[in-house]
């Protein structure tokens, strides 16, 4: 009975909707409902997000100004701005990514271009994937155990940056591999046929054509490293450190530093009687920084996509 109804409705569709049966009307109806249900589910995530963000900005307005960005925190965080917390992440991220981007690139090149499909290389793959899933607090513990104590770097920018480097490494490896793999195999074969070595092929054809993907991956990790708190909380970031207003080079590698993410945590949970606008303003500054860096990566990606070479 149902099969007949279905077949007849199929016939109706084929006949160009001249015969609109009750069945087809009901089907159209369920289809629209389904579409709107799913649309509202997607919207249900986005609308609260926009509301929350607007609320944050509104609450932050009283404190936001150029001075807020340039001044260091004063009077126990109750006044002033976020300057050192802004400079700190630049140091941390710079050192962290200088290390992890380079190592990550080499590992990805090895995995995608040199490794043969044996048990050992599958183990390496597995290791990279699991490294990516380690919780941030475990990274913090690792940083404490390995860099602060075992390597005796102590509580410093260096320890914190190295912890961030290990944290960003697996994702850089994964995204670089994807970028390398997007170069078609036929190009590599053409190079091997004329007697080029693997490295010559990689250097002349593979790398120049995967630069966009690699760069996108690195930029995304920059934004992630700038926003993380747990890994730096116990390895090098502190509650407060005296720094001059607008000083661009306040930290040495062995110093401790302030970081924006940690600062937000501190100012919203550890200090009493802070005027309401200050934590909100700190959150807005952190959020804007991260979103700007992410937007940059999206920009790089779309521009490179439009300049496709094959």
């Amino acid at each position: 009975m149902q099969a007949e109804a279905q077949l007849s409705s199929f016939g109706a569709a084929a006949a160009g909707r001249f015969t609109e049966t009750a069945l087809t009307r009901r089907k159209d109806f369920t289809q629209s409902i389904a579409k709107w249900v799913f649309f509202s589910m997607a919207a249900a995530m986005i609308i609260p997000l926009i509301t929350i963000l607007t609320y944050l900005v509104v609450k932050a307005m009283p404190a936001l100004s150029l001075d807020f960005l340039l001044d260091p925190p004063m009077r126990g965080m109750r006044e002033g701005g976020v300057w050192h917390a802004l400079v700190g992440p630049i140091y941390l991220v710079f050192v962290a990514l200088a290390a992890s981007a380079r190592v990550g690139l080499l590992v990805a090149v090895y995995l995608n271009e040199y490794a043969r499909d044996n048990w050992f290389n599958r183990l390496i793959n597995l290791a990279v994937i699991n490294l990516a899933g380690v919780p941030s607090i475990v990274h913090a513990l690792f940083g404490v155990g390995a860099f602060v104590y075992a390597a005796k770097f102590g509580y410093s920018v260096l320890s914190a940056a190295l912890t961030l480097a290990i944290m960003t490494l697996p994702v850089i490896i994964a995204s670089t591999r994807e970028a390398l793999a997007s170069v078609p195999m036929s190009f590599r074969e053409a190079c091997w046929n004329v007697g080029a070595t693997r490295w010559q092929t990689i250097r002349s054809i593979v790398l120049p054509n995967s630069i966009a993907g690699i760069l996108t991956g690195v930029i995304l990790q920059v934004s992630r490293a700038a926003g993380e708190t747990a890994p730096i909380m116990f390895t090098g970031a502190v509650f407060f450190k005296a720094v001059e207003r607008g000083d661009l080079f306040p930290y040495h590698l062995t110093d401790q530093c302030m970081a924006l993410s940690m600062h937000l945590f501190v100012v919203s949970t550890q200090v009493n009687n802070v005027p309401e606008a200050i934590p909100y303003a700190t959150a807005v500054v952190l959020l804007s920084t991260v979103l700007i860096v992410n937007a940059l990566s999206i920009l790089v990606r779309t521009r490179m996509r439009s300049r496709k070479k094959w």
Binding site: R116, A190, V194
Partner: protein, 256 residues
């Protein structure tokens, strides 16, 4: 076109076996190729013709789980004992599907010489022009050597591939069904080039067009399912009475 008994053997294949994993695709074949001849290789699809070429220039090693046994000698030396990059430069390979590398046309042809250490601009210019002329592409691209290789038409990219194959001055040229993706006019132009190149190098012409082997080659080998059915001069292979009945049937198109 006399086969002299005193001619040198450029390539000697002895009891070659190739397997992909557990599946054997070449079952112990042996044959010789003489210097400065064009050897046609004909046979239906999946006869391991491409695999044979890849064994000769050792690019079969890039495929995982392959096992090669037997010997292939080029210039009397086992290919596995030669430096693999020098070997691949001695052999020019033209694949069935045209591949233009995503660099300029000039760089496409200059790629191989640069890899082997030639950097002198004058020498490279000369080489690029010579190879593009030999591939019958010079006139069409001489004003735009700086444009991307991937933006050429299919036929042009195939000629670019040939120019690339010639750029490292090979002694052996392998063509693997080169005319599949190009039009008949371009095919004829390239066939003319091949006839001229015969004086400089040894050519192995794998083709699915038996008439092409008949036109260009002096000897032809019929490979079927990884075994040599027959290998002989064209006069014998394309006559009414080749040594093996199957050769006649394949050439006549009774099966394919």
């Amino acid at each position: 076109m006399v086969i002299g008994m005193t001619r040198n053997k450029k390539i000697e294949v002895q009891d070659l076996r190739l397997s992909y994993g557990h599946k054997e695709v070449i079952h112990g074949i042996s044959f010789d190729i003489y210097e400065n001849e064009i050897l046609g290789v004909i046979g239906p699809a999946q006869s391991a013709k491409t695999s044979l070429l890849r064994c000769i220039n050792r690019t079969v090693e890039f495929t995982p789980k392959t096992h090669v046994s037997g010997t292939i000698k080029v210039d009397g030396i086992d290919v596995r004992k030669q430096d693999v990059f020098e070997l691949r430069r001695k052999i020019g390979m033209v694949a069935p599907l045209p591949v233009g590398l995503p660099i300029t046309i000039y760089d496409n042809v200059a790629f191989a010489p640069r890899c082997s250490g030639i950097t002198h601009k004058g020498a490279l210019d000369q080489l690029v022009e010579k190879c593009l002329r030999q591939a019958a592409l010079w006139d069409e691209v001489k004003d735009r050597l700086g444009s991307l290789g991937t933006k050429l038409s299919g036929g042009q990219q195939q000629r670019l591939t040939i120019a690339r194959a010639l750029s490292h001055q090979p002694e052996i040229l392998c063509l693997d069904e080169f005319s599949i993706a190009i039009d008949p006019v371009t095919t004829m132009r390239i066939e003319d080039v091949l006839k001229e190149l015969r004086s400089e190098m040894t050519i192995i012409l794998v083709t699915n067009l038996t008439q092409q082997a008949r036109r260009l080659a002096s000897r032809t080998m019929f490979l079927w399912n990884g075994e040599i059915v027959e290998i002989d001069t064209n006069e014998v292979m394309f006559s009414e009475k080749p040594r093996d009945r199957r050769t006649y049937e394949y050439v006549a198109g009774i099966f394919g």
